[in-house]
């Protein structure tokens, strides 16, 4: 693989027009990745998901260079129906459409070709891989006091042409003071066995509000890693919902720094997995100042031989008195050979805090099934009803009514 990486990296530099600074950072990042390679289970944060093994098992002849010179056709039928929205469309890793029809033009700014920086987390080799191979690095700025009229949907589409490629995207979003954004990230994959590595940086300034919904629902054989880094200033709120279901493997990592007083972060997620799928959600919530709040609720329903992992850490700095942190993860295992692993972790250095976590996994409650059957449902219906109820609990946490309904539709939870 190292040979391939080297060839592809040189090809990328040859065919692109990066600034001198970026070439330098890219080289450094590349060397760093070569040194470390894909993470494996010997690293604590990859203990339950050995990416190195997963990639070598699922992807034959992975290549890292992606020719972005020619535009891709957009399959319009993929666009979300019945929801007016702005669009950023990536097809096979190439930006194909930027459309903010509903918004005031001077309130939104999009930059590309930004200066790259060395990743802050030196242990995460995938951030170095991303740095080395990302071709365009985008930044979206929502200006002070502006709230977008309509949600923004970032489409990550891959089509049949894409096979065994590594795609690296990097998007920064800055919400200036008092601004707000509803962001849906929607994946649709018709491609096979690619490794998709997406790096989001979300910067929430004072009093800003981000609602971020990530939907991966269509079955596909891709391996994906999302790294979401969130910084929050005073009074800002982030609300994240993850529907983790479609791809063969996904690891969604959320690192949230609550840097400002009264900042709060909500992360809710749902795993719906079957066959051999293996998904992970990892959250690191860092309470760094007084009076911050976080809440995480993760639920999973596992079928066949699927596996779900939740690693959630709440860190409370000694300065972060009056922290309120709560975390709960639950999974229902429907078959033999399914597996749910959890590592709910608390690291606390302040005494005046309220922190708790819980985790539970097991089978559907047979008594409840029996109760429903005594009311006339058959076994299958009873089971379905209970599972829906179990998951609905998480979906109901979504505060945007329109998007909540959309997600219920996608999950066929409409009652």
């Amino acid at each position: 693989m190292e040979e391939q990486l080297k060839i592809d990296f040189e090809k990328l530099l040859e065919n692109s027009n990066f600034s001198k600074n970026n070439v330098e950072i890219k080289r450094k990042s590349f060397n760093n990745f070569i040194e470390k390679g894909f993470p494996n289970r010997r690293e604590e944060s990859w203990k339950f998901s050995d990416l190195n093994q997963i990639i070598s098992k699922n992807i034959k002849n992975l290549s890292f260079y992606n020719d972005l010179s020619k535009p891709n056709k957009i399959d319009q039928s993929i666009f979300i129906d019945g929801l007016e929205h702005n669009k950023l469309v990536f097809v096979n890793g190439r930006i194909e459409k930027i459309e903010f029809d509903y918004e005031e033009k001077n309130k939104i700014e999009i930059l590309d070709d930004l200066f790259l920086e060395k990743p802050k987390n030196a242990n995460n080799s995938l951030l170095f891989l991303n740095n080395a191979f990302v071709s365009k690095y985008f930044k979206l700025i929502v200006k002070k006091n502006y709230s977008l009229q309509k949600p923004l949907v970032i489409y990550n589409i891959t089509n049949k042409d894409l096979v065994s490629k590594s795609i690296n995207l990097k998007v920064d979003i800055l919400l200036e003071e008092n601004s707000s954004l509803k962001l849906i990230e929607f994946s649709d994959d018709k491609s096979t066995t690619n490794f998709i590595n997406i790096n989001y940086n979300l910067d929430l300034q004072k009093n800003s509000f981000l609602k971020n919904y990530k939907i991966d629902n269509n079955s596909n054989s891709n391996i994906k890693y999302y790294f979401n880094n969130i910084s929050q200033d005073n009074n800002s709120i982030s609300e994240i919902f993850l529907l983790s279901s479609g791809s063969e493997f996904i690891k969604n990592e959320i690192n949230c720094n609550l840097n400002g007083k009264y900042a709060s972060a909500f992360v809710n997620g749902v795993f719906i997995l079957n066959k051999t799928k293996h998904h992970e959600i990892k959250t690191n919530i860092n309470h760094l100042v007084e009076n911050t709040k976080s809440y995480q609720l993760i639920k999973g329903v596992l079928e066949d031989t699927s596996k779900a992992v939740y690693q959630g850490k709440i860190f409370v700095d000694s300065k972060a008195q009056k922290t309120d942190g709560y975390q709960l993860s639950k999974a229902i295992l429907l078959n033999d050979n399914t597996e749910f692993n959890a590592k709910p972790e608390l690291e606390i250095y302040a005494d005046d805090v309220k922190c708790s976590h819980g985790s539970a996994s097991g089978s559907l409650n047979e008594d409840s099934i029996f109760y429903l059957m005594s009311r006339g449902l058959n076994y299958k219906e009873a089971k379905k009803l209970l599972i829906n109820g179990f998951l609905l609990d998480v979906v109901e946490k979504i505060t945007d009514f329109e998007i909540k309904n959309l997600i219920k539709n996608i999950m066929s939870l409409k009652q």
Binding site: T338, E345, L346, I348, A350, K354, S363
Partner: protein
Amino acid sequence: MREKQIDKLKDYKYGFTTDIENIRAPKGLNKEVIEFISKAKKEPKWMLDWRMKAFERLKNLKEPNWQKPKYPKIDYQDIYYYSAPKSASEKPKNIDELDPKLLETYKKLGIPLQEQQRLNGIAVDAVFDSVSVATTFKDKLNEVGVIFCSISEAIQKHPELVKKYLGSVIPLTDHYFATLNSAVFTDGSFVYIPPGVKCPMELSTYFRINASQTGQFERTLIIADKGSYVSYLEGCTAPMRDENQLHAANVELVALDNAEIKYSTVQNWYPGDENGKGGIYNFVTKRGLCKGTNSKISWTQVETGSAITWKYPSCVLQGDNSIGEFYSIAITNNYQKADTGTKMIHLGKNTKSKIISKGISAGFSDMTYRGLVDISSKAKHSTNYTQCDSLLMGNKCGAHTVPYIKNKNPESNIAHEATTSKISEEQLHYCQQRGLNPEEAVGLIVNGFCKEVLQQLPMEFAVEAQKLVGISLEGSVG
């Protein structure tokens, strides 16, 4: 308050040294020292071979370093691996023949070896530095066929049992400290409860490190044969010294069909002074195997001492319907550090495990609960319940919870809960309004917080443990 705190620490009640002539092996870890130990204990060849095998493996092992409390590198060549009171080199036949100084030591520790016989009916094995110096109540236990003796004696008198079970729960090559212990262990207790026997009294071992620059590596093996029951208590103390001393013990428990072992520990090794100087490194491997169906192993620990405590008393639930329990109170104050918890490995059907952990940190200390619950795909209808509560006193200390939860069985259920809190000003005020001083109030509230664990301890230990909980936190209020 500061002065008071120092006074309190000077009061580490067990901090005295006993002036006793010792026989020591030369310093250092090498073949000769292991041969010395084996020879001093008059061991048969198979035992020496076993030790040597461990020593060979040790060369390829590295010290683990994933734990939260870090410590300066230990120079394994600078430790005495064997130290024995000279007077005990010819083992006395009964307690009256013991060196009076030793008797005095145990009396100071609150374990009068002689009176013990007459008073509260607990059989005691006393381990002083590297050797077992006395075991009480032997005759009475013999009547029902219970073997309770030092492991050295067991190696000579019951080689078949030792050969069969030693290393059967903690393999020779398990990890660095366990393997080190296998190579150099000096003494410890051996218990065998024959089929169908309910051990007529509590068995107890008191460990005492006395000599300086000495590591203590004891080895305990408890076998509860079919349908038997035993309750075993372990207590530990050490003198106050500026240096850090290593204590790396191995404890193996085996419960056969329908047998039950209850293992309680009150660990009060010297914790170091108020600046974190000195104290014991308590790196212990404890593991129980529920080998038979319907067997049960229950660990209860009160960990208040040691500079660093690093241990995970675990249960391997191999037999169908077997039960594993872990009840723990861990308290750290000043600069103490603890990384402790348990592993519950569910292999058999209908296995159950329960974990109740109460961690209290004060001063500049740091406390981690780390635990693993692993339900394998064969362990149908198994359950685990875990409750981990942490209490912080002040914002210079840390409390962490790191559970690993693995469920591979759809018919099994795991539930884990954890909370972190502090003693509220309101609770303190309420108690003070009723006339309690702040330290009494904290003691009372903390004992309440620990109640679920304290009530698991046998009566004699519960009282001692309650006092210890109060004493360990003195100086942390106000």
